[in-house]
């Protein structure tokens, strides 16, 4: 337990920019950008520093009593670092993207302030060492996301915002009730391996599990608690990226991971038979989300339902309660983030540069914006599970894990969802590359990059797509997402 300040520092790299930005004038564009980028880079550097030592088995911990029985606890373990690394990296790219995307729009200080606050909350969620600390940041995330969802300030945004709040606050209530109940029985609950709840009776355990996971499932968009997510698509593209890849949905999934792995412990979940119903719900969500995605004409809505479906792979992984499946779930946390953010970046760029919003308008997009569409295609193929993109790795581990856990039906779920994934992603890719753009007969050859939009809209998706590809190609490397996920699971199972 060394470097107690390090977790705080990681938190501060986004919290301090958030506070400072709030008080910046609307026109302080340069300062704002500098602070944003500096914070993001600083966080990445700190994370990189910690990766090495945590891999070697070290943990960082910061404990700060608020009132008796309520400690504020930050702890950096391998799982925390997995999530922090993902969000830190994606934050940097999203920031770059957002600066380009928003351009000269209004209320930028407010936007970036809450944006940084969201990331701070996500970091806090990742680093939380106890249920209550987790809850504190989880709520902070809810609240700091709302102004972003309603950023456009029109009626539709507020309707979406209302929906978002109604769902998430309902979820928090359930979560808090579960926490209060459990802590009333066993005292403060910290995320230590193999759970602490062994002494409780089955009924209480079941209800508390339902309350906790039910509360988290709202953010994780598990059916039937998912409806806020497609509605929130009215928000600007960087916010969508944040919601779907960096922060919100991930926070829910991560919370479920923590509850299953570190509060109850996989052993207890298995013994009490709590995993199978959860896995079933997750599977249902996977299929339902895919089916709904198929029916969407709006690209962003299609991506949104795709998220509903894809995030539940994570839940499915841990719910199956076997080590291999858990690796699949954990690694998908990262992989889904990388691929989905790529897709949203691209969708935003398409909308911004070519004003493409509908599936039908994709014709020839690949010729007009080749780099963007290349990134899009890689991510989409990854989502489908085509090797060697990262998505394949996740699905492979999930499938093997399902078999190992004796749940053969998982294979069918995976296969079915992959087919559906293909059904709703391939037409997009096909139209982009193989259908000529409407009415573009004349016009000579223009340089490749000049056809793309602002570089800030191109670089991030290309980068994430590259990383997604790399994560699949170099999955065997120790510090790859897969390697890291195996490390976590190995430690969790004491292997």
């Amino acid at each position: 337990m060394r470097g107690a300040l390090l977790p705080l520092l990681v938190l501060a790299t986004s919290l301090v920019p958030a506070v400072v930005i709030f008080f910046l004038s609307e026109h302080a564009w340069r300062t704002r950008t500098a602070i944003n980028i500096a914070g993001a880079v600083g966080k990445l550097a700190l994370v990189a520093y910690m990766l090495d030592s945590v891999a070697a088995g070290a943990e960082y911990e910061l404990r700060f009593p608020l009132v008796p029985g309520l400690d504020f606890l930050l702890r950096v373990d391998a799982l925390a670092l997995l999530f922090v690394t993902l969000s830190a990296a994606l934050w940097l790219l999203t920031t770059i993207y957002a600066i380009a995307y928003l351009g000269e729009g209004p209320h930028q200080s407010r936007f970036f302030g809450f944006f940084s606050l969201c990331v701070a909350a996500t970091t806090g969620i990742a680093l939380s060492g106890s249920l209550i600390t987790f809850f504190i940041f989880y709520e902070l995330l809810t609240l700091s996301t709302w102004p972003l969802v309603v950023h456009r300030g029109d009626g539709e945004s507020f309707a979406a915002g209302r929906k978002y709040l109604a769902y998430t606050l309902g979820g928090s209530t359930s979560l808090l009730l579960g926490i209060v109940w459990l802590e009333g029985l066993v005292g403060p609950i910290e995320f230590t391996r193999h759970g602490t709840l062994a002494g409780l009776d089955s009924a209480t355990l079941g209800i508390c599990f339902l309350l906790l996971v039910g509360g988290l499932a709202v953010k994780a968009a598990i059916v039937p608690l998912h409806a806020w997510l497609p509605a929130a698509m009215v928000a600007p593209a960087p916010v969508s990226a944040l919601l779907h890849a960096v922060a919100v949905v991930k926070a829910g999934a991560f919370g479920i991971l923590r509850v299953v792995l570190d509060v109850f412990g996989i052993g207890l979940v298995q013994a009490e038979g709590l995993g199978v119903p959860l896995a079933a719900m997750a599977s249902l969500t996977i299929l339902y989300g895919s089916l709904r995605a198929l029916a969407q004409d709006d690209i962003k809505r299609r991506l949104a339902f795709s998220t509903v479906s894809q995030v539940s792979y994570i839940t499915l992984g841990v719910a199956l309660a076997g080590p291999v499946a858990a690796v699949g779930g954990l690694v998908h946390l990262v992989h889904q983030g990388l691929m989905k953010i790529t897709l949203f970046f691209c969708a935003g760029a398409l909308a911004e540069t070519l004003h493409i919003h509908k599936v039908g308008e994709m014709d020839g997009a690949g010729r007009r914006m080749p780099l963007t569409m290349l990134a899009f295609s890689i991510a989409a193929l990854g989502m489908i599970g085509v090797p060697p993109v990262a998505g394949f790795v996740s699905k492979w581990y999930l499938g093997v894990g399902g078999l190992q856990a004796g749940q053969v039906w998982v294979i069918f779920v995976l296969a079915g969802s992959s087919l559906l994934n293909a059904a709703y992603f391939l037409p997009l890719v096909y139209r982009a590359w193989f259908v000529p753009p409407p009415g573009e007969r004349a016009g000579g050859w223009t340089p490749l990059l000049a056809r793309e939009g602002h570089w800030g809209l191109v670089l991030p998706p290309v980068a994430t797509a590259a990383v997604a590809l790399a994560a699949g190609l170099f999955a065997a490397v120790a510090l790859s997402p897969l390697g890291w996920a195996r490390l976590i699971v190995a430690r969790d199972y004491g292997l």
């Binding site: 709520e139 029109d154 109940w181």
Partner: protein
Amino acid sequence: MPPVAAPEAGFPWIVLAILLPLAGMVAALPLGRHARALALLLIPAGLVVALLLAAQVWREGEVTYALGGWTPPLGIALRADGFSAVMVVTTAVVLLGVALFAQSSFRAPPGEETRAALLFWALLLGLWGALNAAFLGNDLFNLYVALELLTLAAVPMASLEARAETLAAALRYLFFALAGSVLYLLGAVLLYGAYGTLDITLLAERAGPEPVTWAAAALMTAGLLAKTALFPLHLWLPPAHAGAPAAASAVLSALVVKASFFLVLRLWFDALPGVMTAAAGQLLAALGAGAILFGSVLALHQVRMKLLVAYSTVAQLGYLFLMVPLAGGGGAAQPWDAGAWSGGVLHAVSHAFAKAAMFLAAGLFLRAAGHDRIAELRGMGAALPMVTLAFGLAGLSLLGLPPSGGFIAKWLLLTTAMASGQWWWALVMFAGGLLAAGYVFRALTPLLARTETPVLPGRPVPRHQQWAVLGLALCSVALGVAPLMPFALLQVGRPEAAEEGIG
């Protein structure tokens, strides 16, 4: 029995805490147009005194002081325990914020004396003295006088604008307050008849569970509840608090209702610890629950911002009474009592900051827009970002969401509710939190709406007023980040019914 002046160790900060504001009020009248300057001088000084008193309590434990050297039961004693110290400090901090806010709105033109400018500051000082007298008194009759002092300072504050509807509201407030203090006095009379003293410490030794004591406790509680505006005696509060000038509303809603709440706890936990029955505790909490649900639903339906904030006070006051059965009222000491006790008090404190900030913010919106109809405040968020932020932060505390004082308070109350097996109160708190989210966001939504043309405030809003609002809101949030010190201070002299600690 000649004066048994047992000079207390250390300087009598406890006396000064009451004396300073009251002397200021007296001096304000002949000073006339300099009353504002006097108040602005005294309020920071009073904060220092309050902090010194708190430090004294922290170091030396409970502070008592026999006035005139006449010890109870013949004389009157002042007593400061952790709870009083926390309330005295809270009062001073809130007043500092309010004074900062009001120093430009209640300011006479040079060389002239105006009604509002003189009376606001004089009443504010009087109110402050009355609050401190109520927090520090240890004699039930003296507390009656302090309550009347409070009423007579608060009622004119509510009607300072002297419009027809504020006059009616103030009159209604006066009736409730007067009826409340008379009932309180009636109870005190019975106690004197039964035990020959009104000193709280002596009463605790003498009073036993007998019919007379129950009758007295019931009457006093009913009177105090009318003053606290606990459901269903809340009818006077919303019009009175919403009709006052912003600075006055802030003080009324944040502090004045807390004084009678404070006395309810003093009565049950300090004066008559052995008298309360479990059923009485549950009844109080049930009224609190009614207030939470009813007040929140009414707040949801308000069209005007200030009324919304006022109804939210009705709701938030309900939480305070949930602590009574949780903190061991009506039962033997339990390990969780300390948590509930602190939770309730922290709620009172954080609500004081949050509500003051909200009323001041609502006042600024009113000033900038010329009205406070929520639906028509569109775009105000862009015009007054700092105020909107403050409103949001204060709302955070009302919702009981982290990181805020409201969260810590609610957390303590929730865990104790579960630990004591009274899970139904936890459910009420959850429902209250959701309803609060409903009305807070209903107020925030139009503020953040984007308008075609940027909204410009009809009247400029001074920077220092915005800072005052934000400062108060931040206090309420800061309580969620660093509640340990107030928590520990609260344990000094905590009544026995709520002894032992959790965790």
